[in-house]
């Protein structure tokens, strides 16, 4: 069964890039241009992974991730931040906030696919009742 990734990104070319890369590697993708639509979609179906931009119109990526973590039906879905905020203090802040990992744009595509594959695998293992070893931010 194909793994489904939700891309939350307001910038259309960025969304297209992630879509093209993920689909070329066998993932099914869905997209939301803002946090509100992301939450609506995530409540309707279970994603294997959510990729979250930080600077979004309306609720930020951090606020959207908090809302996902607060709801029982979306709490367990891994959320990886994808951001153009690149200072080491930014990354530390996003991990502290509760993101499972944080990738800085421009993202190396090989590293990006490795991270996606790892969190999707973690998600499947959790579904199968296997013990999870999810260390935040370790890639």
């Amino acid at each position: 069964m194909s793994k489904t990734v939700l891309i939350v990104e307001d910038d259309a070319p960025n969304r297209k890039l992630f879509r093209d890369v993920l689909q070329a590697n066998g993932y099914v993708t869905e997209e939301a241009p803002d946090g509100k639509q992301a939450i609506d979609l995530a409540r309707r179906r279970r994603y294997d992974l959510i990729l979250m931009d930080i600077q979004l119109p309306g609720a930020s990526g951090v606020e959207t991730m908090r809302s996902l973590r607060a709801a029982a039906e979306t709490r367990a879905v891994p959320v990886v931040a994808l951001t153009g905020f690149a200072l080491p203090s930014d990354r530390a802040r996003f991990l502290r906030e509760g993101f499972d990992n944080c990738l800085t744009k421009p993202v190396d595509l090989d590293e990006f696919l490795q991270v996606v594959a790892r969190y999707v695998a973690d998600c499947r293992a959790a579904d199968a009742g296997e013990p999870q070893a999810r260390a935040p931010g370790v890639s």
Partner: protein, 112 residues
């Protein structure tokens, strides 16, 4: 009124009108958006990294021939784009982010 309009003969159809006047070169058509008030290093770095991510990402995608096979000459051109993009990323890191990071650390840990 509507009947009057109906009764009027239609003008003969022509193809799309073509503006034959000479166009200004592309670089003269580009109108940069005004910068937001009080651009901080953090927001400037973010504003540069976001489109650079798209440039590098699609270049990598093409380079890996995920969009179809390429000739050696085309691959060489993409290598040039990637090299220049990495150079630009280095400028963003060294000239915008590193001084900002140092400044933030200084503020967090004032020297005695």
């Amino acid at each position: 009124m509507a009947a009057d309009r109906k009764a009027q003969p239609r003008a003969p159809r022509r193809g799309p009108t073509v503006d034959a006047r000479p166009r200004p070169p592309l670089e003269m058509q580009y109108v940069p958006s005004p910068p937001p008030p009080r651009e901080t290093p953090d927001s400037l770095s973010h504003a540069l990294r976001t489109p650079l991510h798209v440039v590098m990402g699609f270049t990598q995608l093409l380079r890996e021939q995920q969009c179809g096979p390429l000739t050696p000459r085309q691959l060489q051109c993409l290598d040039e784009v990637l090299a220049a993009s990495r150079q630009l990323l280095g400028v963003i890191r060294d000239r915008i982010e590193a001084p900002d990071d140092a400044q933030q650390r200084d503020r967090a840990e004032p020297r005695t």
